[in-house]
C-alpha cells in the first residue's frame, strides 16, 4: 500500500518532466489522406488514453505530426526532421510504400525504431539483408506478401477461378503488389491471362477491362487505393461485365465503398480489423471512443485507425519494458516483449523477434467482403 502511494507520488512528481516525443507521419492531404487521417486519429486516441492514465515512464506522450502528402521525396525530409531536429524516440507511420521506402535509411542510421502501421509494401524484414541485426524498422500491418498470397489463394483455391486478370496502379505500392501476386500465382501453377495498370486519378478503366475480358478472365485481382479501385468497379458496370473482384486491403476504404456503390458489392480483401465485425471488449471500447472523439461513423479507413492505435500502445509497452527512451533499448524490448498486448487488430504475444519484425501473421488476417455498403467479416 505504501509502495503504491510512493509510486504514485513518483509518477506525479515526474509527470511534469520532459514529454516523450513520438513522430507520426503520413498523408493528411491529397488522395491518400483518408488513410493518413484515420491512422493519425487512431494514434491520437491512444495518446490521449495513455496520457490520461499517467503517460509512459511517468512522462507525457507528445505526438509530432507531419504531413507527407503521399510524396516520396517528402518521406526522407520528414524523417530527417523528426530524428535530427525534433529528436523523437520512435516513429509511427506512414501509409504509402514509396514514401516509407524513401525514408527507411534514417531510422537505421540514427538507431531510432520505426513502427510502420499502415504501409503494406514497405521493406521491413528485407532490411535484415542490408543492416543485419541492426534493423530498426518494424511493422504492424498485413504485409504485401501475406495479402497477395491470401488474395491468390482466395481466387485459385477457394473459388477455383484459374484465369485471373491483374490490374494494379502504377505506384510503388501497386507494382509491388502485382509482382507479389504474380509470384503467388506461379506457386499455384497459374498464369494471369492479362496484366494491366492504371494511374492515380484515372476514372475510366474501359480499355484495361476490355482487354481483360477479351483475354477470358474469370476474376479480377486488383492492387491500388480506394478512388481508382472504385473506378475499376464502375467501369466494369459500364462495359456490362461482371466477374469477382479480389484485391488489396484498400478495398475496405470508404473511398472505394462509397464511390463504387452497388458496383463494389462483393469485393473481397484481406483485413486485420473489420469494424462491423467488432466483438471483443477492446474492439468495442476502441470504436466507442473513436466515434465519440472524432464524430465519425463509420470510420473512413478503420484498418488504418486500428493499426495506428495499436502501434502506439506497442511502442509504449516497449518503452516501459526498456525503462528508457534510448533507441537500441526500445528496439531490444520490442523484439522481446514480455507482456501480451491485447489490441484492436489482434492479441500480440511476442509479436516481434530479433529476426522477424512483422507483427501481423497470416493467422491475424481475414477476408472481408463488401456487402450493403460496409465490410463484413467472412462467413464461418
Amino acid at each position: 500500500m505504501l509502495g503504491c502511494a510512493v509510486a504514485v507520488m513518483l509518477l506525479t512528481a515526474t509527470a511534469g518532466g520532459e514529454p516523450v516525443k513520438i513522430g507520426v507521419y503520413g498523408p493528411y492531404t491529397g488522395g491518400s489522406a483518408g488513410m493518413g487521417v484515420s491512422m493519425r486519429n487512431g494514434v491520437r486516441l491512444a495518446a490521449d488514453e495513455i496520457n490520461a492514465s499517467g503517460g509512459v515512464l511517468g512522462r507525457k506522450v507528445e505526438l509530432v505530426e507531419r504531413d507527407d502528402e503521399a510524396k516520396n521525396e517528402k518521406g526522407g525530409q520528414i524523417m530527417q526532421e523528426l530524428l535530427e531536429k525534433e529528436r523523437v524516440v520512435a516513429v509511427l507511420g506512414p501509409i504509402n510504400t514509396g514514401v516509407a521506402d524513401a525514408a527507411l535509411r534514417y531510422p537505421n542510421e540514427k538507431k531510432v525504431p520505426e513502427l510502420i502501421n499502415v504501409s503494406a509494401g514497405a521493406k521491413v524484414n528485407e532490411l535484415f539483408d542490408v543492416y543485419g541485426k541492426d534493423n530498426y524498422v518494424f511493422r504492424i500491418a498485413a504485409g504485401d506478401l501475406i495479402q497477395s498470397e491470401m488474395i491468390v489463394s482466395e481466387a485459385v483455391e477457394k473459388r477455383k477461378l484459374k484465369k485471373p486478370a491483374l490490374l494494379c496502379d502504377d505506384t510503388n505500392y501497386g507494382q509491388n503488389g502485382r509482382a507479389k501476386m504474380e509470384k503467388a500465382l506461379e506457386k499455384h501453377g497459374v498464369k494471369p491471362v492479362y496484366v494491366g495498370k492504371f494511374k492515380i486519378k484515372d476514372t475510366d478503366m474501359t480499355a484495361q477491362l476490355q482487354e481483360a475480358r477479351s483475354a477470358g478472365a474469370d476474376v479480377l485481382l486488383v492492387y491500388g487505393i480506394g478512388p481508382e479501385l472504385a473506378a475499376v468497379a464502375n467501369s466494369m458496370e459500364r462495359i456490362g461485365w461482371r466477374v469477382p473482384m479480389i484485391g488489396s486491403w484498400t478495398l475496405s476504404m470508404a473511398a472505394f465503398i462509397n464511390n463504387a456503390g452497388a458496383n463494389g458489392s462483393g469485393a473481397a480483401m484481406p483485413q486485420t480489423f473489420i469494424e462491423s465485425g467488432a466483438s471483443t471488449p477492446k474492439q468495442l471500447a476502441f470504436l466507442d471512443a473513436y466515434y465519440k472523439k472524432f464524430n465519425e461513423k463509420p470510420i473512413a479507413v478503420a484498418v488504418a485507425a486500428a493499426q495506428g492505435y495499436d502501434s502506439l500502445y506497442l511502442i509504449k509497452m516497449a518503452i516501459e519494458q526498456a525503462g528508457s527512451t534510448e533507441g537500441p533499448k526500445i528496439k531490444a524490448a520490442l523484439e522481446d516483449l514480455a507482456k501480451t498486448y491485447e489490441g484492436v487488430t489482434g492479441t500480440y504475444t511476442k509479436p516481434f523477434s530479433p529476426s522477424d519484425h512483422e507483427a501481423v501473421k497470416a493467422g491475424n488476417v481475414m477476408m472481408g467482403v463488401v456487402k450493403g455498403g460496409v465490410v463484413t467479416p467472412p462467413q464461418k
Binding site: T29, V37, T203, D204, T206, Q210, P227, A230, A300
Partner: protein, 294 residues
C-alpha cells in the same frame, strides 16, 4: 463494339478538356494571359456543386446557379488579386506564377475547409449507364451526353456572341489591338475583367459537369488543368472552335492508346503530337499566324 465504346469514352473525356481549354482561350484572346488556376477553379465548381447538391440538398438548378456565381466571382478575384498586381510590377511573366499560386491556394483551401477525400456525386440524370445496342452493347452514362451537349452549346454560344453583340465585338477589338480599342472608347480593363469572370464561370460549370463521372475531390482539377492546357495549345490559343479539336485529339488518343498500345503509354501520343505541332505550327491547328511588331 469495343472500339465504339472507347471512341465514346474518348469523346466525352475530350469534351471536358475542350471546355477548360476554351476557358484558357477566352482570357488569352483578350489579355494574352492564361489563367493557370482554371484547373482548380474547375475543382471549386465541382466542390461547390457537390456541397450544394449532395450535402445541402439544393435542387440541381440552384446548385448550377451557385456554381456559376462562385466561378464568376472567382474569376474577378483572380484577375484583381493575382493578375493585375503582377502586371503592374512590369515583370514579364509574374502572372504565370501568380495564377499558379492562386490554384494552389484554392486546392489547399478546399483540403483544409472542406475535405481531403474523394466523393461520389449523383448525376441528376441517373448513374446507371444506358446500354446501346443490346446486352453486349456500349455503356453510355447520361451525364456524358450532358457533358458533350453543354460543352458544345457553351462554345458555340460564346463564339456567336463574340461576332454578333456589341460586347462581343468589344472583346474582339481588345483581342485585336488593345490600344486602338481604347482609343475607340472601349474600356479594355472591363473587357478583360469580364473575360476572366466568364472563363472561370465556364470552368466552374465544367467542374459540376464532370463531377458525377470523375469523383469530387480537392485534387480533381490538377491533371485536368494540365491536359486542357495542352488541348488549347493544340487547337490554337486564339481559336475558340480549335479548343474542341484539341480536346478531342487528346481525349481520343488517350483512350485508343490505352487499349491498343498500353495503358502505361496513354498520355504519350497526345503530348508527342503537341511537341511536333509546336515545331511545325506553333500557333496551333486553328490558330492564326500573327505578325509581331517589335
Amino acid at each position: 463494339m469495343q472500339t465504339l465504346q472507347l471512341l465514346w469514352a474518348g469523346i466525352a473525356q475530350g469534351m471536358i478538356y475542350a471546355l477548360v481549354a476554351f476557358g484558357y482561350n477566352i482570357t488569352f484572346s483578350t489579355s494574352k494571359i492564361l489563367n493557370f488556376s482554371l484547373g482548380n477553379v474547375l475543382m471549386l465548381g465541382g466542390v461547390t456543386g457537390f456541397v450544394l447538391y449532395m450535402t445541402r440538398g439544393v435542387p440541381f438548378a440552384g446548385a448550377l446557379a451557385g456554381v456559376i456565381a462562385v466561378g464568376a466571382v472567382g474569376g474577378v478575384l483572380v484577375q484583381k488579386l493575382a493578375v493585375e498586381p503582377s502586371l503592374r510590377k512590369k515583370s514579364q511573366h509574374a502572372w504565370i506564377l501568380a495564377t499558379l499560386a492562386v490554384g494552389i491556394v484554392l486546392r489547399n483551401g478546399a483540403e483544409v475547409f472542406w475535405s481531403t477525400d474523394d466523393f461520389k456525386m449523383r448525376s441528376p440524370l441517373g448513374d446507371a449507364p444506358l446500354r446501346v445496342g443490346g446486352a453486349g452493347g456500349i455503356g453510355i452514362y447520361p451525364q456524358e451526353i450532358l457533358i458533350i451537349l453543354v460543352s458544345l452549346a457553351i462554345v458555340m454560344t460564346v463564339e456567336m456572341l463574340k461576332s454578333r453583340t456589341l460586347l462581343g465585338k468589344a472583346v474582339m477589338a481588345v483581342s485585336e489591338d488593345k490600344e486602338t480599342a481604347s482609343l475607340m472608347g472601349i474600356d479594355q480593363k472591363r473587357v478583360i475583367l469580364f473575360s476572366f469572370s466568364l472563363s472561370a464561370a465556364i470552368a466552374a460549370v465544367g467542374g459540376l459537369l464532370v463531377a458525377p463521372i470523375t469523383l469530387v475531390s480537392a485534387t480533381m482539377g490538377t491533371v485536368l488543368g494540365v491536359k486542357a492546357y495542352s488541348a488549347s495549345i493544340i487547337g490554337g490559343l486564339e481559336s475558340g472552335y480549335g479548343t474542341i479539336a484539341g480536346g478531342l485529339i487528346i481525349g481520343l488518343s488517350e483512350s485508343l492508346t490505352a487499349r491498343f498500345v498500353s495503358t502505361g503509354y496513354k498520355d504519350v501520343p497526345g503530348f508527342l503530337f503537341l511537341i511536333v505541332l509546336l515545331l511545325v505550327k506553333p500557333s496551333g491547328l486553328f490558330g492564326k499566324r500573327t505578325i509581331r511588331k517589335v
